[in-house]
């Protein structure tokens, strides 16, 4: 669309598009999906002869652009590889959280009564357990790895969905078209599918995009603690954990991974804000 009124000029139109967030999210999207195309070296291959090389601009070799780690692995390629893990975990985790949270929130809001009470108590109980503790317990039960960490992310985030969707459902329930549908004989199943869920789409999308940033941080924290992705697979959090010891000597080990996390989360948050402003400005308090 975007017809530019003549009195306005081109710049404000560009300003309206989410260019900056898109730019910030480019790396994780490209690396995460097309990873191997971007490797300059095999991220797993160890090359002790070239270990602890600084980045190119700080005196290192051109082929190891961001330097190497203590085992001689290329930092840049590891970041590319790590993007995939972060992307998969964040997106899948948020999706799972969404499915669970939206379903329970919708049921709680629509039926009310004891169903609402029970679901909300479960939400309250879970929200009082710190995220880290939760993830430790789950990892202890299921072992480490990609699947575990995805489940952890899902379990941490579903409660926020549930609360928000419950509120949305409550307000949708009051709108006259719901009463009219009931008066036309609409059953519960049809009500959910045809009337309630389509009206939850914009809120759900906003919540999901705002969660993505936090999901990446949670994933990085969990991996940092050693509970998530295990070597030789790599993830940004793991890179930061491994590189922690070398902070003063080989700062590039943890620094670039941390930087990658920062710009990705920033991009996700900004994108989430933009989507929220377009779809549903009422949710500004998120």
């Amino acid at each position: 669309m975007s017809e530019t009124p003549s009195y306005r000029g081109v710049w404000p139109t560009i300003k309206r598009l989410p260019l900056l967030p898109a730019l910030l999210l480019m790396p994780i999207l490209l690396f995460g999906t097309l990873g191997p195309l971007f490797y300059s070296h095999d991220p797993v291959a160890m090359n002790p002869a070239h270990s602890m090389q600084p980045p190119y601009l700080f005196g290192g070799q051109a082929s190891y652009f961001l330097g190497t780690d203590h085992l001689g692995r290329d930092v840049y390629s590891k970041i590319v590889e790590g993007a995939r893990a972060s992307l998969v975990v964040a997106v899948t985790g948020v999706l799972l959280a969404g499915v669970l949270g939206i379903f329970l929130g919708m049921v709680a809001g629509y039926f009310g009564g004891w169903i609402d009470e029970v679901i909300m108590r479960i939400v309250d109980i879970q929200m009082s357990i710190p995220a880290i503790l939760l993830t430790i317990l789950i990892s202890a039960a299921l072992g480490g790895g990609l699947i575990t960490i995805t489940i952890c992310v899902a379990l941490v985030f579903w409660t926020q969905y549930a609360r928000i969707i419950r509120g949305e459902t409550l307000s949708i329930k009051e709108r006259e078209f719901v009463l009219l549908a009931r008066m036309a004989g609409c059953g519960t199943g049809r009500m959910f599918v045809r009337h309630i869920m389509p009206n939850l789409v914009s809120t759900s999308t906003v919540v999901a995009t705002l969660q993505l940033g936090r999901a990446i941080i949670i994933e990085a924290s969990i991996t940092f603690l050693g509970l998530g992705i295990q070597p030789p697979k790599t993830a940004w959090g793991l890179m930061m954990a491994e590189g922690r010891m070398y902070l003063s000597t080989a700062w590039w080990l943890p620094a670039f991974a941390g930087f990658a996390i920062v710009i990705t989360v920033l991009g996700a948050n900004m994108m989430g804000d933009w989507i929220r402003d377009r779809l549903d400005p009422k949710l500004k308090q998120l």
């Binding site: 006259e176 009463l179 009219l180 549908a181 036309a184 045809r194 389509p198 789409v201």
Partner: protein, 328 residues
Amino acid sequence: MEPLLDIQGLTKHFFIPANGFLRRGYSTLKAVDGVSFSVAKGTCFGIAGESGSGKTTINKLILLAEKPTAGKILFESKDITAFNRQEIIWYRTRVQPVFQDASSSLDPNMRIIDIVSEPLDIQQKEIPRRAILLKAQEILRLVGIGPESLRKYPHELSGGQKQRVAIARAIILDPALVILDEPVSALDVSIRAQILNLLADIQEQRHLTYLVIAHDLAMLRQITTHVAVMYLGKIMETGETEQVFDHPSHPYTKGLLQAVPRSKPGQRKERPALYGEIPDPLNPPMGCRFGPRCEHRIQGCDELDPPLMRVAEGHFVACARFPEGGTP
């Protein structure tokens, strides 16, 4: 001939927790307190009242959105408050509402044709989809929505068009009774006439009966055949519209009619039509509810709540000054 809708002694009390931090105890909000009236087939019955009159609650009670505390609602001589699930489903095809806010009445994610065909989809599953869509299209044409709008979404329509769609949806199941709650007050003044004329036309064509709830007295005069004036949960006066408007007997009715601004300048009244405020519904006055504001108060008005008494054929007033069939 028995009336289509017969309300007998309808009462609805709400229990409101008392004020104060601990909220101990309850106050009783007598939203509707012993209301009786009947609506004959083919007529248009209006319920007039200001805020706190109980007219919105009556709407909810008739639509079975609330359960009455006492009293009966007879539809085609059957007591709807005693209906089981099957009967409620039947009832809902016979009585349909049209609400004030058309934007809220239409699902923003559905196309117009789907909104209007939904009741048929649900109720008459055996009819093929094509036939349903054709019927919906026909009804929409009847209310003035052409084929170019069928696939639009509600936000693409104007206020008047949305209300037409709401009306189309209400009549597609061929109900006997349509309950209209402030059908035109949210619309622009120049559009109201279109919708009111449309309602009159379809009533005639499809042999409908209307129950209209509104505060706009001029509008009620135009479209209703009978009217009931409510105040704080009770009917103060009821009868044929012409009768009640031309010969108002209850002091409240008189005050209400006097308070409506007229489009004829030079009729500036000297004093306000009515003094005082509408009392707190949680604490209605003793005896006649209108007593404290009434200029014609007599002995006993603050003790006895007068019942509806006949003052003329089909014309009833709840006022102590009108003993049965008499004039004061």
